[in-house]
């Protein structure tokens, strides 16, 4: 493989923001026909590397070569013209436009100087068929598509540019299992066609399944590049975080059947998306929500937080009836409820607002003084949260958008923990954050549970559910298919139940 010419080569590339080096004298090579995994914690320099390759930012120092030619991308268009195409984690689709418009946004088929809409639709149909998304109509608006379909459209859009080097940044994080398989197949096909692929993911099994070569970054430096199978998973994790990992998950305490039931829901239904759901969560318990993506888990969390209208069934909090009439009433229930949303950028954070305001936003009533706010009380409370969650911030007054993904997620957690919740609903809180931060989140959840907080934890990562939760409710088609506990709580039963495969062992 290495005797072919590299598709992308970086020599002594550095990138500094202010005084801080995001990338430090990095040499990096990617070859055609190779799937190259890029690994590292948040802030390790992966996204900076990608942004430089895709022409989004300029390197402060160093040289960039594509197919042996020295290049100096001033914007993403020039990178695309050279064959470097990136599927960004933050979707780059235009929500108010049709799928067909989006797929041909840069160089649409023209007829007489104007956009040929019939040709564009035809092109969209071909691209959608290529990724197995025939169910998406080319005239559908992107904003009407669920997140998982949008991500597939995003991939189709990148494929439409016929990349020589395709960069995938957490490209499968929102996909359903079936779509992930399709994406794998597409990536492998591209590899055999000679396309180079850079693959950024936090899911270790994905990297094992796909990558030919992997490079680990840490603190803006390239640590090591190695071929598949040359390093064990624990060695890789070790390289990424630079410290020994003894436990992936905190220990689980013994079951606590005597604790009072914090949250009890009976026969919750909502349209076709939630069907007759009943569940109990005791104080101090972490209950997992599993199953394939889009089986109603997100709706269930939103329903319990009072965001959905027209939910039938009853909810009791600490034995008292609770009306599902909105987040404000959920926050004032007998045990205050907090929802950590899935999409931190739209539902969790006010990106342009500063870190302090974001953290204290949901608990401002605590800092009231007369008609105004007690600034010093607010400040010290925020500092306390930042310390206890180990959020890496230089300046509380900086916009939250300047933080890395993992630290942004911690800000969302801090915001809700500050309200002093007795019940926490989590919607896939570890999506797209690094291993180190994930472990901190797991420990934090267990500590909260030990203090008596009831936690409902939806995750798309089965290992996380098994490692973190006392019990797991597996959802299928809007209902709870099965509750798993103790020895039944393992990957096999979760997957079986998620796929709704008849469990014959159970009968035997």
């Amino acid at each position: 493989m290495s005797d072919t010419a590299p598709i992308l080569e970086m020599k002594h590339v550095s990138k500094r923001y202010g005084g801080i080096a995001a990338l430090n004298d990095v040499d990096f090579v990617a070859y055609p026909g190779q799937i190259h995994a890029v690994l590292g914690e948040n802030g390790a320099g992966k996204s900076t590397l990608i942004k430089i390759a895709a022409g989004v930012t300029d390197p402060s120092d160093g040289e960039l070569f594509v197919e042996g030619r020295r290049v100096n991308f001033r914007n993403p268009v020039e990178a695309m013209a050279a064959g470097v195409v990136c599927v960004f984690q933050e979707l780059s689709l235009l929500p108010d436009m049709t799928v067909a418009d989006n797929l041909s946004i840069v160089s649409p088929p023209l007829r007489g100087g104007l956009i040929d809409s019939a040709g564009q639709r035809q092109r969209a149909r071909e691209l959608l068929a290529m990724i197995g998304c025939e169910d998406v109509h080319p005239l559908e608006l992107v904003r009407d598509l669920p997140l998982s379909r949008r991500q597939m459209v995003e991939i189709a859009k990148a494929l439409g540019k016929r990349p020589k080097l395709l960069i995938l940044d957490e490209a499968t994080s929102a996909l359903t299992a079936a779509d992930v398989e399709r994406v794998y197949a597409i990536i492998r096909k591209l590899r055999s066609d000679g396309t180079g692929i850079l693959y950024v993911s936090h899911r270790m099994h994905e990297i094992e399944a796909l990558a030919d070569v992997a490079t680990v970054f840490r603190n803006g430096r390239r640590i090591e590049t190695f071929k598949k199978g040359e390093r064990s998973v624990s060695a890789i994790v070790q390289m990424m975080i630079g410290r020994e990992l003894t436990h992936h998950y905190p220990d689980k305490p013994a079951p606590k059947p005597m604790e009072p039931v914090a949250l009890s829901a009976k026969n919750l239904s909502w349209g076709t998306q939630l069907r007759d759901i009943s569940l109990d969560i005791r104080k101090g318990e972490i209950v997992g929500l599993g199953g394939l993506d889009g089986q109603g888990q997100r709706s269930l969390l939103l329903a319990l937080f009072g965001v959905l209208k027209g939910v039938t069934g009853t909810v009791e909090i600490m034995g008292k009836p609770h009306r599902l009439s909105g987040p404000r009433s959920a926050m004032r229930a007998a045990l205050p409820v907090a929802l950590i949303p899935e999409d931190r950028k739209t539902e969790g954070l006010m990106l342009p607002m500063n870190i302090r305001d974001n953290i204290s936003l949901a608990s401002l009533s605590r800092f009231k003084r007369g008609l105004g706010l007690d600034g010093s009380k607010e400040h010290s409370a925020v500092e306390k949260m930042i310390d206890s969650l180990k959020i890496k911030v230089a300046d509380l007054a900086a916009a939250v958008s300047t933080l890395s993904g993992g630290n942004q997620q911690k800000v969302v957690l801090a915001k809700w923990l500050m309200t002093g919740p007795g019940i926490i609903l989590l919607n896939d809180p570890t999506r797209g954050i690094d291993v180190g931060t994930k472990q901190e989140v797991y420990q934090l959840l267990r500590d909260l549970a030990d203090k008596g907080v009831a936690i409902l934890f939806y995750s798309t990562d089965y290992a996380e559910l098994i490692g973190c939760c006392d019990r797991v409710l597996v959802m299928y088609n809007g209902g709870i298919a099965r509750e798993l506990e103790g020895q039944h709580l393992n990957e096999r039963t979760i997957i079986e139940t998620a796929l709704n495969v008849d469990d014959k062992e159970q009968a035997a």
């Binding site: 993403p76 780059s92 235009l94 108010d96 436009m97 104007l114 109509h137 005239l139 965001v307 959905l308």
Partner: protein, 326 residues
């Protein structure tokens, strides 16, 4: 047919504006003492087309998630320039028209240039440049007066073949020559992309800056076409600050009634034309029902509020409260 269902879904706001206009216009005509004659239609059209053109102008910046508070001032500037330069022989008049349209486009281009390269907020930029353009209009025409080439004026405000209001033909021609090609051009679609999500548009390699420049430039051009038509109607120029302000604000109202989102990325200039027609018909309705003109602003406000509320009907269907904020 699946395609048709999507198309209707995409054009809901436009269809609602057309329906609202048709209903109001039928009420107006059926209560009109004379009924629908060529003369009545021509008078109604001549007034309505002015706002329709200014509303089309406003649509383009709004689609890019901007706003142009100077459209009314460019409209008045074009009126004052036309009362000076569109005079003499027909040939000289035509030359004057080119000059007036060029001035309008230049004014729009300056707005766009300041917004794109100066990176200033559209609202404050156009508030300032609008004052400048009004100042120039006042300098050109300190008091009401002037003249206009009457052959061209009569042609543009009369009737074609004795039935079709010529102003409507001008409006249609503007749609065919300016709007439709723009809508289907790469830069026109880029304007929608920028309004929909500017960051994503940039990441996708959309020419963000050129799209904005063109949107503001065409806004100036369209407002100038409106100003020309105003001159053809009044045979004079007047640097009137109230008229400039009214047209600016009504253009925003017309854009909203026409189903264009003030958040950008969604809508069309065709919708704004019907939005403008709706606003004009309100005035005419008050006239045929013989209501005191004093009530006009109040009624106009109520109808505007009602029309905008139509767009909010979707709220009643929403089952997930988060969608209210999407």
């Amino acid at each position: 047919m699946n395609d048709l269902r999507h198309r209707i879904h995409h054009n809901g706001g436009l269809l609602a504006a057309i329906a609202l206009f048709i209903v109001m216009f039928i009420i107006y005509i059926s209560n009109h003492p004379v009924g629908l004659t060529a003369a009545v239609a021509t008078t109604a059209t001549n007034k309505a087309v002015l706002l329709a053109l200014v509303a089309m102008a406003q649509t383009l910046p709004v689609l890019t998630r901007g706003l142009d508070l100077s459209v009314g001032m460019v409209f008045i500037l074009a009126n004052c320039l036309a009362s000076v330069f569109v005079v003499g022989t027909i040939g000289e008049g035509l030359l004057g028209i080119v000059l007036v349209l060029g001035a309008g486009a230049l004014a729009g281009f300056i707005n766009g240039a300041i917004i794109v390269w100066g990176r200033l907020q559209p609202i404050i930029t156009t508030l300032a440049t609008g004052a400048v353009y009004y100042g120039i209009a006042l300098y050109v025409r300190p008091g009401p007066g002037g003249d206009v080439q009457s052959d061209i004026a009569d042609l543009a405000t009369g009737q074609l073949f004795g039935v079709v209001p010529a102003a409507l033909v001008v409006l249609l021609a503007t749609v065919l020559i300016v709007w439709l090609p723009y809508r289907h051009s790469v830069l026109g679609r880029a304007a929608y992309a920028v309004g929909s999500n500017e960051q994503a548009a940039y990441m996708s390699g959309v020419p963000v800056q050129r799209a904005k420049l063109l949107a503001y430039t065409l806004a100036g051009l369209l407002a100038a076409i409106g100003g020309l038509m105003l001159t053809f109607n009044t045979y004079s120029g007047e640097a009137s600050s109230p008229i400039a302000g009214t047209y600016t604000l009504n253009s925003i109202a017309a854009v909203v009634i026409g189903g264009t989102s003030l958040f950008g990325g969604w809508g069309s200039a065709i919708g704004s034309i019907f939005g403008a027609f709706v606003l004009r018909t309100i005035e005419d309705l008050l006239f045929v029902f013989d209501l005191d003109p004093l009530w006009q602003p109040l009624f106009q406000g109520v109808v505007l509020l009602a029309a905008v509320s139509l767009g909010a009907v979707r709220v009643l269907r929403i089952r997930n409260r988060l969608e209210l904020f999407a």
